[in-house]
């Protein structure tokens, strides 16, 4: 029928087209597990590497996964049935945390004191600064190894196990790989996520010891005057290491205090360690940011699908609801609502983090929905939607299969852009003394605490958190830009798609 005359035209368009690859014909139609059994080599190598990576952090992974849910609160919800299970899981999480990992504080210990003969207490007698830097390096090397292993796994799958030689997503991935600004964003975002994930071991000291319970923990130090190793409450030590701008009252970035504690970012006005505070604050910001984005994104995507598919009154209803929410000043509304909710049980989850996440989610979905509504409407006008209807496909499947994949890319762009906005919003609320309860670390509170000392030698208290916020928001924006250029709307939804995403801006 002459069908073969122009088979090659696809190859020139995609640049990725190969004649049926070396894969044997018999592999067709088999499920992935079967395909792996037939050619186990690459998968086995990859799995071995992954196993090593997991083993290196087994304890932390178990405890990390299990400690995310607030077990005490969950157990309290349904006493009797859930409580014992929750308690058990909490115990497992604690035990897991005790297992040694390559990133444990105890493996590379940076706490110690300097005697005339050298450093005591630190690993291998290294100075605390070097020991801490080493641990940070190990953590980031480990994390970026995961990233590379993940990419390697994807390429293995693509080369050995995926049936189609080429998919439209390959082009997206290839475009993103060549997008240096997007890769820069990805690096920053990944580094930030690692900072949040490994917060407990990244700091030179711990939140518990240094920030939350300074009068329940003691540290040893070498007293020059007496020539003895003495012990002191962390709280007392903090009192002597304050950064308050005048005279000797300052511990700046990369300095030791008189108790031989190393402070990569200096100390806060109350003498606590700023880096530990920041690392832990990253966790709060990311958790609240992602939860709120999950809520907002869920609403936005469901509404986008429904309004684009059914149009008419459904669309009008959501437009009105969204406009009503957007008509309220977001931050003022959040301040008011978090105040109203401050005495309820929900305000206690994650020290008020859940309330913030919910409020940011509820007030944030209309913007996200408006951003994806255009692309969703465009897709809903394509003829394959009619085709699906003509052979009786159910609306839900049509939305999921024929519309959602075209909108997800746009959603990722706007989500990454607005995540930066949420982080700024949370920081802004803490700056005003609202939001996350003290003393749980939150970046905005550090900026606020350092505000009186901006013009003094204690400039670091405000400046470093401020710069970090800027870098991270820039990183999220760069990532969004990269994704936007990678999905190349022209090839998906047709002309006009470009303008829809060009005006993105979450913060």
């Amino acid at each position: 029928m002459g069908a073969d005359t122009d088979v090659g035209s696809g190859s020139t368009r995609t640049g990725e087209f190969r004649e049926e690859a070396s894969r044997p014909e018999g592999d067709r139609d088999l499920p992935l597990s079967e395909r792996i059994t037939r050619n186990p080599g690459p998968a086995a190598t990859w799995a071995a590497v992954v196993a090593v990576l997991i083993a290196a952090e087994f304890g932390a992974i178990v405890s990390g996964l299990l400690s995310v849910p607030p077990w005490g609160w969950v157990g309290g919800l349904v006493p009797g049935v859930v409580e014992p299970v929750a308690a058990l899981l909490a115990t497992v999480a604690e035990r897991g945390a005790e297992l040694p990992t390559i990133t444990s504080r105890s493996v590379i210990d940076n706490t110690g004191y300097q005697t005339p003969s050298g450093w005591e207490g630190t690993t291998l007698g290294l100075s605390p600064a070097v020991a801490w830097a080493l641990r940070v390096a190990v953590i980031y090397t480990y994390s970026f190894t995961w990233l590379l292993v993940g990419w390697w796994g994807y390429t293995l799958y693509r080369r050995h196990y995926r049936i189609p030689d080429w998919t439209p997503r390959d082009d997206v991935v290839n475009r993103f790989r060549r997008h240096s600004w997007g890769l820069f964003g990805l690096t920053i975002v990944f580094a930030f996520v690692v900072m949040a994930l490994f917060a407990p071991v990244l700091g030179p000291t711990t939140v518990d010891q240094n920030i939350e319970n300074p009068y329940e923990n003691r540290i040893d130090y070498y007293n020059d005057e007496t020539g003895q190793v003495e012990s002191i409450f962390v709280g007392e030590a903090n009192g002597d290491t304050q950064s308050r701008g005048q005279g000797d009252n300052n511990v700046g970035p990369l300095e030791y205090d008189q108790y031989d504690r190393f402070h990569p970012f200096g100390t806060l006005p109350d003498g606590k360690d700023l880096f530990t505070f920041m690392a832990s604050g990253a966790r709060v910001s990311l958790l609240v940011g992602l939860t709120s984005l999950g809520i907002a994104g869920g609403f936005a995507m469901v509404f986008a699908m429904l309004t684009a598919y059914y149009k008419g009154l459904v669309d009008l209803g959501v437009v009105i609801a969204g406009d009503s929410i957007q008509a309220m000043p977001q931050l003022l509304f959040i301040i008011l609502a978090s105040f109203v909710l401050s005495d309820t049980w929900i305000a206690e989850v994650y020290n008020g983090g859940l309330v913030l996440a919910i409020l940011f989610g509820i007030t944030g979905w209309p913007a996200l929905w408006r951003a994806v509504r255009g692309p969703a409407l465009q897709v809903s006008e394509r003829e394959w939607i009619d085709a699906a209807k003509s052979y009786g496909q159910r609306p839900r499947v049509t939305m999921q299969k024929h519309m959602l994949p075209y909108v997800v890319g746009y959603f990722l762009i706007y989500a990454s852009l607005s995540l930066g906005g949420v982080i700024i919003g949370i920081a802004g609320l803490s700056f005003l003394g609202l939001g996350i309860e003290a003393p749980v670390p939150e970046w905005g509170r550090a900026v606020s605490a350092g505000q009186p000392y901006v013009a003094t030698q204690s400039w670091h208290i405000s400046l470093i958190p401020g710069i970090l916020v800027v870098i991270i928001v820039t990183g999220f924006n760069a990532l969004g830009d990269g994704v936007r250029d990678a999905i190349d709307p022209e090839s998906d939804i047709g002309d006009g798609g470009n303008e829809n995403v060009a005006a993105g801006g979450g913060a």
Binding site: M1, R13, R28, I163, D386, A387, H402
Partner: protein, 458 residues
């Protein structure tokens, strides 16, 4: 043809009766469309006239035939096709198959129809989801209708790929990797996946290269023979229709103007609209001399079709009222164009800004009636019985009352074409199954020049 050849089916009461029309129908009739209307924006929030995309259409589709549906773009042929597969909701009328009315189906019965009837879309670039493999695309209807086991579905997709001239291994390719012709083959395979009886082909080749068109048409004809399919073939390309169709319906402004067997209709078109449509088809032989009937203006808006015959505003064979035979062709044309200007003006609701401009004495977008009349009638002199109504109507239009202006001129110079909608009349030999919608077919209006002796396509 049971309905059509009897003539005037949409007005005759017995045609509304489904069982009645069924009992008289031939056994080989698959589908009977009766007085079908599909209007858009019927219940618009702000009122206004609905778009009468399909406005009272009746015909039968015989089992195993290819019925062509031709007409200019915007005549409602695609809407008609989409209504048949329930992509549009019919406003009125019935589509009857085996005693069931398609327009009122729901639930399981509708799902069965969605299996028995399929549609192939015009643009293969848009009708295939680029994110799915070709195999997934063709398989989807099978999944929806729970056809046998997954393994058998995959095998069927492979067979279909081979059947439509692609290769088995194209299963895991993406539509991006195919040319337009190949993508349309995928679209055809998807339509045939669930073994339909009836397939609407909505201009299936008009988006393709000419060299590929013939391949796809031949494929469609082979498939029809092999799988016993019934086609409704929608097209604006008349040579394609002549190639593939057994019978043809010519549509204009939501109505069927002429209906009949393809060869007869092409050789000896009865309706003035069909004649002008056919005369627009280029012939490969430049030495052949033909009368080309070039139509004046554009089709009227389907929101506001003409009162009489829908084609009356452009018809080259329009009947003149008695007493104006002396007027020259050109003079009469000028009058028709003038009426068209009035029509244009009255149809357009002036927007607020236009009204404001008018009040301020600024120029508006609409053609100025007096100016148009001046241009049209500059070098013409009419007898007083023509001149007077024209003058009156120009004055009425200048007062802003276009409706009244039109009434004046229609009363004085209008004919049966402006007042009465013609019904479909059986034409040709009694058993030919041909029908046409034109007043000229009545003896009293028979046109000596247009007796059908000329054959634009020989």
């Amino acid at each position: 043809m049971s309905g059509e050849s009897s003539g005037g089916s949409e007005t005759s009461p017995e045609m509304r009766n489904i069982s009645d029309s069924n009992s008289t129908a031939n056994d080989d009739v698959l589908l009977s469309v009766r007085d079908l209307k599909t209007h858009y924006e019927e219940r618009s929030l702000f009122g206004g006239d609905p778009v009468r995309a399909v406005d009272g259409v009746s015909f039968d589709v015989r089992r195993g035939e290819t019925l062509g549906l031709v007409g200019e773009s915007g005549c409602g042929k695609t809407t008609l096709g989409r209504t048949l597969v329930r992509l549009e909701e019919a406003t009125d009328g019935n589509i009857v198959i085996d005693g069931d009315d398609i327009t009122t189906l729901s639930g399981d019965a509708l799902q069965r129809w969605r299996r028995d009837a399929q549609i192939v879309f015009q643009d293969p670039e848009s009708s295939l989801n680029d994110r799915l493999t070709v195999g997934e695309i063709i398989r989807e209807p099978l999944n929806v209708h729970n056809w046998k086991t997954p393994a058998e579905r995959r095998q069927r997709v492979r067979n279909l790929l081979e059947r439509v001239g692609l290769r088995e291994e194209h299963y895991y390719r993406y539509p991006h990797q195919f040319s337009g012709g190949q993508r349309q083959r995928v679209g055809i395979a998807r339509a045939l996946a669930v073994e339909p009886d009836f397939v609407v082909l909505d201009e299936p080749v008009s988006a393709l290269d000419v060299s590929v068109q013939a391949q796809i048409l031949n494929l469609l004809m082979d498939l029809q023979e092999e799988l016993d399919l019934t086609y409704l073939f929608i097209a604006h390309d008349l040579s394609v229709v002549r190639h593939i169709c057994d019978r043809v319906a010519v549509m204009y402004l939501g109505k069927i103007m002429e209906f009949g067997p393809t060869e007869q209709l092409f050789q000896k078109p009865e309706n003035p609209y069909t004649r002008s449509l056919l005369s627009a088809v280029p012939t490969p032989d430049p030495t052949v001399e033909r009368d080309r009937t070039t139509l004046r203006g554009t089709p009227p808006s389907p929101r506001d079709p003409p009162n009489g015959c829908v084609f009356s505003t452009r018809c080259p064979a329009k009947i003149r009222p008695d007493g104006f035979e002396e007027l020259s062709e050109h003079d009469w044309d000028a009058i028709e164009v003038f009426r068209e200007v009035l029509r244009e003006r009255s149809r357009t609701d002036p927007s607020l800004s236009e009204r404001a401009r008018e009040l301020l004495g600024l120029e508006t977008r609409l053609p100025d009636v007096e100016e148009a009349a001046g241009e049209l009638f500059a070098s013409r002199s009419f007898p007083s019985d023509v001149q007077e109504p024209i003058q009156q109507s120009i004055e009425a239009a200048n007062d802003g009352n276009e409706e009244h202006a039109r009434e004046i001129i229609t009363a004085a110079l209008g004919s049966v074409c402006d007042r009465e909608a013609p019904s479909l009349l059986a034409t040709g030999r009694t058993d030919s199954g041909r029908s046409s919608r034109c007043h000229r077919h009545k003896e009293e209006y028979a046109d000596p020049d247009a007796s059908g002796s000329d054959s634009p396509q020989s």
